[in-house]
């Protein structure tokens, strides 16, 4: 009995180690100066200080800035649009409309990213819209919103439907009833929808590359792609990626601990 568990646990930990090996390699080699990843030329934090020296990595920093800015704008817009839509889908009695909404909402989820990217590209091209910040943000809102809808809908379904009516009966105007009764109930769904949207947005590559136009707009993923095509990554990407990874890891672990604690309290 005992041996079985030891086997199972070691399987999990070995697999985890293998899965993380590439990330470890990047993190380890962020502490050496060598241009080529894999050459160890002694411990150094030179890459970290070089990364944060103002004026040295303008292109890279601009790409990081674009990534974060588009991520925040797109996920905020997606959270608003998706939450309002979820309330609408939940409350409509029109079966056809409900079905159409659900089907359309599922298309970006089930579709391959490359098709979403190419089809949006062709939309903008055929409309004669020049691609850039706006089209890229719109594309990101398009693939993020479905996730928000899917995170908010279950919250609405779990909610006591009479609470809202009770608030109305007690004289609250609809807007106030919504703000005081519905929003607090669905807030966790909105939060996870927002977080998921943000992570998907800053990660996206396949949809981004078709919609950023040719005016030199770069996000982190397209910068990395262009960089790797030129042969060899900019060494400063190693510390940057290590920092990115640690931030995401810490955020997610804390978020999960927090939600776990909340559910245990209930």
């Amino acid at each position: 009995m005992k041996a079985k568990y030891i086997f199972a646990r070691s399987y999990l930990y070995i697999l985890l180690f293998v899965l993380y090996a590439p990330i470890f390699v990047i993190a380890i080699f962020s502490f050496t100066e060598a241009k080529v990843l894999g050459n160890w030329t002694g411990f150094s934090t030179h890459l970290y200080s070089s990364l944060f020296t103002p004026g040295t990595h303008v292109g890279l920093m601009k790409a990081v800035e674009n990534t974060l800015l588009i991520g925040v704008i797109a996920s905020t817009a997606a959270t608003l649009l998706g939450t309002i839509a979820a309330i609408g889908i939940f409350n409509t009695r029109n079966k056809f409309f409900k079905g159409a909404m659900n089907t359309l909402n599922n298309i970006p989820l089930l579709n391959a990213d490359i098709i979403t990217g190419v089809s949006l590209f062709l939309l903008f091209v055929s409309l004669g819209v020049s691609q850039g910040y706006v089209t890229l943000t719109l594309a990101h809102i398009t693939f993020c919103t479905p996730y928000v809808v899917l995170s908010v809908l279950p919250r609405l379904q779990q909610m006591n439907p009479y609470l809202y009516e009770a608030a109305l009966d007690l004289g609250a105007p609809p807007f106030k009833a919504l703000r005081k009764v519905v929003i607090p109930e669905i807030a966790p769904g909105m939060a996870s929808g927002f977080m998921l949207s943000f992570l998907l947005s800053i990660d996206d590559f396949e949809i981004t590359i078709f919609n950023l136009g040719n005016k030199g707009l770069e996000t982190l993923s397209t910068y990395i792609y262009a960089d790797s095509r030129k042969g060899g990554l900019t060494p400063e990407l190693r510390p940057l990626l290590t920092i990115f990874f640690i931030v995401v890891l810490v955020l997610l672990v804390f978020y999960n601990l927090w939600t776990l604690k909340k559910t245990q309290k209930k």
């Binding site: 199972a8 899965l19 298309i107 190419v118 590209f121 055929s126 807007f175």
Partner: protein, 266 residues
């Protein structure tokens, strides 16, 4: 203000803005893509693109090869991922939800970063890039996407089924083969959806993992779009879309409710 209130009060109409948004950014792009697929550069209707696809052996061969790689990748992901999901869902083996998060976390790391890290690892271990590294890297990238849906199903599985089988005298192997495995099929199917089609349609991963020596179907789509062959690129995307629709029709009913994507994570 009263008019605003009455609009807010009719919550059933709240889906309308998102519905219009989706018509414009989800449905219209796909229609335009199909239209591009059946027209030439001057906008005249033609079947030239589809004829070109079947005549040009490169595209067909690449598609067949991509399907082959996708089958191998999916099979490996099931073989490696199923035991992992099984162990993770067993509360005697895995007591913390953090371990699950750690398994899924790589999903949220940029796909290019993960791939480049893998390439770096191969370089560090002096393994030449080629078909072997392609499959290895694909499994690396897609394993979490297989583990998540299977884990979701197994974690929710009613334990009383397997206990009943045990009480009735079935051996552990028999319990697994006759009860647990059949009940987890929906999870496997949504895992297949999340691994199989993306393997065919990714472009950057294969390019980076093989120094652009091996092309997958997604690579060809991207090359055509990039080189201004929009109509032919649209046709290739449409063929990909047909594949996805067929796959969805096959697995769709079974995998419902487990395909929560990364949504299960946060």
């Amino acid at each position: 203000m009263s008019r605003l209130s009455s609009i807010i009060g009719r919550r059933s109409s709240w889906g309308v803005p998102y519905f219009i948004f989706m018509l414009f950014f989800v449905l219209a792009p796909l229609v335009i893509m199909v239209w591009y697929a059946f027209t030439d550069a001057q906008g005249h209707l033609t079947f030239y693109n589809i004829a070109e696809f079947f005549q040009e052996s490169e595209a067909v061969n690449t598609l067949v090869y991509s399907v082959g790689i996708a089958i191998i990748n999916t099979a490996l992901c099931i073989l490696i991922g199923y035991p992992a999901a099984y162990f993770l869902s067993n509360s005697k083996i895995n007591k913390s939800s953090i371990l699950v998060v750690l398994f899924l976390l790589p999903m949220l790391i940029n796909v290019l970063v993960r791939t480049l890290a893998t390439v770096a690892l191969f370089g560090w271990m002096k393994i030449p890039l080629g078909q072997g590294t392609l499959i290895f890297g694909m499994v690396y990238n897609y394993l979490p996407f297989m583990i998540l849906p299977i884990y979701n199903v197994l974690a929710k599985l009613d334990k009383s089924y397997s206990e009943a089988a045990q009480d009735l005298g079935a051996s552990p192997v028999r319990v697994f083969l006759k009860v647990t495995l059949p009940l987890s099929v929906p999870g496997i199917l949504s895992g297949v959806m999340m691994v199989f089609m993306p393997t065919i349609s990714t472009f950057a991963i294969a390019e980076l993992l093989t120094m652009n020596n091996i092309k997958l179907f997604g690579t060809i789509i991207q090359e055509n779009i990039n080189n201004g062959m929009w109509n032919y690129g649209a046709m290739l995307s449409m063929i990909m879309l047909v594949f996805i629709v067929i796959m969805n029709l096959i697995t769709g009913d079974q995998s419902e409710n487990t395909n929560s994507g990364v949504g299960g994570l946060i």
